[in-house]
Every structure is written in C-alpha cells, then in structure tokens.
C-alpha cells in the first residue's frame, strides 16, 4: 500500500501542469518555388513559487523559514506572468537564434508562445518561437 502511494506521489510530482499565457501568429506564406522547413526555438528558465514554498514549510512545522519566505515575497511584488525568475536575459538572444535557424532571413509563419510548466514549488517559464524557413527548391 505504501509503495503504491509513493509511486502515485512520484507520478504526480514529476508530471507538470502546462499553462499557456500568450500566443501570437504572424503571416504565413506558401510559395511554389520554395520548400517550407519548420524550425522551433525554445528558451526557458526556472521560476520559483514562494507561495508554494511557504505553504510547504508551514505544513512541515518550519514556521521561521515560512515567515522568512513570506518576507522575501514582499520584495517580489508586481504584475506577474507565471512564477518569477532570477534572470531576465534568458529570452534576449532570440534574434540571433532565428538567423541561426534560417540564415537567409526568409522566415514566415512565425508563432510566439509564452507558457509555463508547473511543478511543485518550481516551474519552467518558457518562451517558444516556431516558424518556417523558406528554402529554394532544388537546393
């Protein structure tokens, strides 16, 4: 019985809840002289939920640490999308990554997605860009 409960808990903790915050689509071009090669770029950073941390610490009778976490939370106020991350530059090099995927610059069908994968306490804050690179036929 204990083994089954443990396995179930492990299963729950390793499966994430996906949340979609923002999607935008651009123009899509299909051309008879070009092949559309799909590409995708995914950048992510670990976000930390102080609310989850505080709740877990309180549940495990660690009241001082829970209080400290709540005080830290006062220094992280503001509009939020997903959990806060501790580096802001993880999605800054998208321009370079796009040209690496498609050096010719013939990019179409761009979709920008902002989503997150939530786990207990932590989450993956993801920025995903998908698109097509138009490559001339015969190359």
């Amino acid at each position: 019985m204990k083994k089954i409960v443990f396995i179930l808990l492990l299963f729950l903790m390793t499966n994430s809840c996906a949340q979609l915050y923002h999607v935008q689509l651009g123009e899509v071009i299909s051309h008879p002289q070009f092949n559309s090669q799909p590409f995708d770029i995914k950048v992510s950073e670990v976000g930390v939920s102080l609310e989850d941390t505080s709740r877990i610490l309180e549940a495990t009778n660690n009241k001082d640490a829970a209080q400290a976490t709540e005080i830290i939370g006062l220094f992280q106020l503001g509009p939020r999308t997903g959990n806060p991350v501790y580096t802001k530059n993880y999605a800054k090099n998208l321009q370079k990554m796009l040209y690496e995927r498609c050096p010719s610059g013939r990019i179409t069908g761009l979709m920008s997605v902002r989503e997150s994968r939530k786990y207990p306490v932590i989450s993956g804050e993801i920025v995903k860009i998908t698109g097509y690179c138009l490559v001339p036929k015969g190359i």
């Binding site: 923002h22 935008q24 051309h31 002289q33 013939r106």
Partner: protein, 130 residues
C-alpha cells in the same frame, strides 16, 4: 475648507486611473515613415460585466480608411487596462500606431528590386522573396 480640497485631490487621483499593459505587438517597420496613422478603441467596464468585445471589430476598418490605396505597416498595438477604482470601474483600451506607405512607393520599391522599367505591375510576393 480643507475637506473639499481632499475630496478634489482624491477625485483627481481616482479619475486618472492606474494603467497597466497586457500585451503589445509590433510589425516590421517601413522605410517611408511620412504618414502616421493611429486608432484608439476603448470600452468602459463595470466589475466583470463585459458581454462582448465588439468594440475592437472596427479597428482594421478605421486603419484602412486612414490609408486608402496604401499599406499600413510598422503597427505598434497596445492592449491596456485602466483601473479607476478596485476594478469595479475600469476601462479596456486598444491603441494601434503605424505608418501608411502609399501604393506608388510600394511599386517604386518593386521596380528597383527588379531593375526594369515596368512600374505598372502590382508588387508580388515572388520578387520580395528572391
């Protein structure tokens, strides 16, 4: 004497609203930026009683009207919330600012790319990609 002043200050404070940005988008920016076009659509909402978003349906039409025989591009679109009082009274505002590139300019650019004298043809996607 003091009370009306405080009331006035509080009124000014609340009616100016707290503005927050929900999202933005920007399309590619043209070379010709002589003519700027702008639209603004807003809707006043009480609590969460918003039964449709039809106020934005005429946004494209308004841009098209400001730019007849041209292409609207370099569009910066902002989606904002203006909170007057605890989101009991608030407003949704969409603004779009861009540039109108006349068709003549587009055809001229096409002629330069092709290197021919034929300016009568409409710009096509083929030559933009090659």
């Amino acid at each position: 004497m003091k009370h009306p002043l405080y009331i006035l200050l509080a009124a000014l404070f609340f009616f100016s609203g707290c503005v927050s940005l929900n999202s933005l988008s920007l399309t590619s920016i043209p070379k010709n930026r002589e003519k700027q076009v702008r639209i603004e659509k807003e809707k006043f909402i009480f609590l969460g009683f918003n039964f449709d978003n039809d106020f934005i349906n005429t946004a494209s039409e308004d841009l098209r009207r400001q730019c007849p025989n041209g292409k609207v591009t370099g569009l910066l679109t902002k989606d904002e919330n203006i909170n007057y009082f605890l989101y009991i009274f608030w407003k949704k505002r969409i603004t779009a600012t861009g540039f109108c590139v006349p068709m003549g300019d587009l055809a001229k650019g096409e002629k330069n790319r092709r290197g021919t004298a034929s300016a009568s043809e409409e710009p096509s996607e083929e030559s933009e990609l090659q």
